[in-house]
């Protein structure tokens, strides 16, 4: 079904684009950070009292005052060796911080992504099927309201209701304080994942639900849908046979295109639930001027978003039979 040679060429081109993209991302990030009135040395020192000479030597050591091109060249050189530098806040290699944090975030993001995708698709289908009825109206109102609601506010409310008021879930952190990592049980971890995940899912539902609804309504007005109706097909079976299959791929594609939003949502949600993910790390890095860490996170997020878009592209180009057949014919 899939032309392997074509696919390989496609992937090759995409990989090249990614590299070029990353270079520009790094360029822009560097320029931006350089523009800022940050002095990384100050951060490193934080509150330790240090003499002027020591500050000067640190600055020389780190090349704080060197031209930006030198800085960037150095940094790029390091990257190619797999060295992203050392985090100023955590005092460990950036790559280690990212590895640990990203895994945690991935668990959060992917689970809520899947959950919101499925739930959103279901809601959208029901809303489209029952267009203009009470059910449809409720779903529409819910989605519109959700889209207008600030993510972090919803998270706050969830925290208030479920953690503070009802006490069902802990108010923060990834594992109970003070427990050794061997002793953290699966349930402990899950417990702390659930609330952020549910929050992130609730918010992500809106976009996919509305999209699915619109697409389903479009399908329901299509010629072949009408014809099927004229042949006596009706109700839920009609939708199943002719509606869902045709909107499944576009919906999935949309989900993959939403990686950027997903990441953004995760940043906020992690902050509120103090979930130790990469989002929270990014915020800390930004607030406390941890330049190496921040840069590293930016790169990783760019790769993450790129992967999502890439998968969507693959689906669009290679999986959707309607696109394929038009290419075969024409």
């Amino acid at each position: 079904m899939i032309n392997y040679a074509k696919f390989a060429k496609f992937l090759g081109k995409k990989a090249l684009r990614l590299i070029i993209l990353l270079i520009f991302v790094i360029l822009i990030s560097f320029i931006l950070i350089d523009m800022s009135p940050i002095n990384p040395v100050k951060t490193y020192i934080s509150n330790v009292v240090v003499s002027q000479e020591q500050v000067a030597s640190l600055e020389a050591y780190w090349g704080v005052n060197e031209p930006i091109t030198t800085k960037m060249a150095n940094w790029l050189g390091n990257i190619l060796q797999g060295n992203l530098g050392t985090s100023l806040i955590y005092r460990v290699p950036v790559i280690d911080v990212i590895k640990e944090r990203f895994t945690a975030s991935l668990a959060l993001m992917l689970s809520s992504w899947a959950f919101s995708g499925i739930l959103g698709f279901l809601l959208g289908t029901i809303a489209g099927f029952k267009k203009d009825t009470i059910v449809d109206k409720i779903i529409k109102v819910y989605c519109y309201a959700l889209q207008s609601a600030p993510t972090f506010w919803i998270a706050l409310i969830m925290l208030m209701v479920f953690s503070v008021y009802l006490g069902w879930f802990p108010t923060g952190l990834g594992v109970p304080i003070g427990t050794l990592s061997e002793n953290v049980s699966f349930w402990d971890w899950l417990n702390r994942l659930i609330l952020p995940m549910v929050t992130l899912s609730i918010i992500g539902v809106a976009q996919i639900a509305l999209f699915t609804r619109d697409k389903l309504i479009e399908e329901m007005n299509s010629d072949y849908f009408l014809f099927a109706k004229s042949r006596g097909e009706s109700g839920w079976n009609l939708i199943k046979r002719h509606g869902i299959r045709n909107i499944l791929l576009p919906a999935i594609t949309l989900q993959f295109l939403g990686f950027s939003e997903l990441f953004g949502g995760a940043v906020l949600v992690e902050q509120i639930f103090t979930y130790p993910g990469i989002g929270q790390a990014a915020v800390s890095a930004g607030l406390r001027n941890d330049v190496p860490l921040l840069l590293g996170i930016v790169i990783f997020s760019a790769i993450f978003v790129y992967c999502g878009n890439l998968i969507a592209d693959i689906i669009y180009n290679f999986v959707d039979p309607r696109i394929k057949e038009s290419e075969e014919d024409g």
Binding site: S29, Y144, T151, M160, F263, V267, I272
Partner: protein, 285 residues
């Protein structure tokens, strides 16, 4: 085609037809938004007096949104914060819109530049918004300026895409080609042919950027990157409320956020309705 002679004006059973409803909605939302902004401007920061006698009080008739830990009335604070958010949102939206227009126009000059613009759009979309805004805020030293620029520089992408598509369509139309044959300069064509037709998209697009701009500003401020804690932006109010969550002062978080939600919803509503009015093909949905 004049429709007064042909066909008949049809009024459906609903007493208000869609057009009337749309106009009413636009008027109502605009009114509310203007009231909010004006009242927030009128509230001087000094009016928000601290009153340590009345700390952390739940909502009551005297203070419909309750009071905070310094005894200040939450309602006034929220209102002022909203006004601030709307102002910043407006600034960012308009700036974003201007960037989008320039980008689209530059891209319309020739194919090479169009490719450059497309590449730029991809570049800006490759980093999650929040991160980019954080980066830009840091670069510009934070504060209101940093946040506004950050939001402006991230939200021009979708409008640019829309405008580019429109312009492409217009440029390939017959009458533009004729003008070119007549020797009219590219600038003249841009002014006379292209601009009037994309005005609709620009207006609608700008209004629809508002809600996103406001929300992102609030989010970024909440995280600590935007306005300073002295300015009562909604983001600040909400981030401070987090500290008091555990003590059960629920009103500190609920009302400001709810108010923000409503403002965003109003802008969205206004934008969608204006769109329907200016572009009737979307009305039959």
């Amino acid at each position: 085609m004049d429709n007064t002679q042909k066909g008949s004006l049809y009024n459906p059973l609903a007493k208000l037809n869609l057009r009337t409803k749309t106009l009413i909605t636009i008027a109502a939302t605009s009114l509310i938004l203007i009231v909010v902004v004006i009242s927030s401007l009128l509230i001087n920061s000094n009016d928000i007096t601290t009153n340590f006698q009345a700390m952390n009080q739940a909502p009551s008739f005297g203070h419909i949104f309750g009071t905070d830990w310094m005894g200040r009335d939450m309602f006034t604070r929220t209102l002022k914060g909203l006004g601030l958010s709307v102002q910043i949102g407006a600034g960012a939206s308009i700036l974003s819109s201007l960037i989008a227009i320039s980008m689209a126009l530059v891209g319309s000059i020739n194919k090479y530049l169009d490719g450059v613009i497309a590449w730029l759009v991809d570049l800006f979309l490759s980093i999650p918004h929040i991160l980019l805004i954080i980066l830009i805020s840091i670069a510009l030293g934070g504060g209101a300026f940093g946040v506004t620029m950050g939001v402006a520089l991230t939200h021009w992408t979708s409008l640019t895409r829309v405008l580019r598509a429109e312009i492409k369509q217009i440029k390939t139309s017959d009458y533009v080609r004729l003008s070119e044959r007549f020797g009219k300069s590219k600038l003249w064509i841009a002014r006379k042919h292209i601009l009037p037709l994309i005005v609709t998209q620009i207006i609608v697009g700008t209004i629809l950027i508002f809600p996103h701009a406001i929300m992102h500003e609030a989010s970024v401020t909440f995280l600590g990157f935007g306005l300073s804690p002295h300015e009562p932006a909604i983001g600040i109010i909400l981030s401070e409320s987090m500290k008091y969550l555990a003590t059960g002062d629920w009103w500190l978080a609920l009302f400001p956020g709810l108010a923000l939600l409503i403002i965003v919803l109003l802008f969205d509503l206004a934008g969608e309705n204006i769109k329907k009015l200016l572009d009737p093909t979307s009305a039959n949905k």
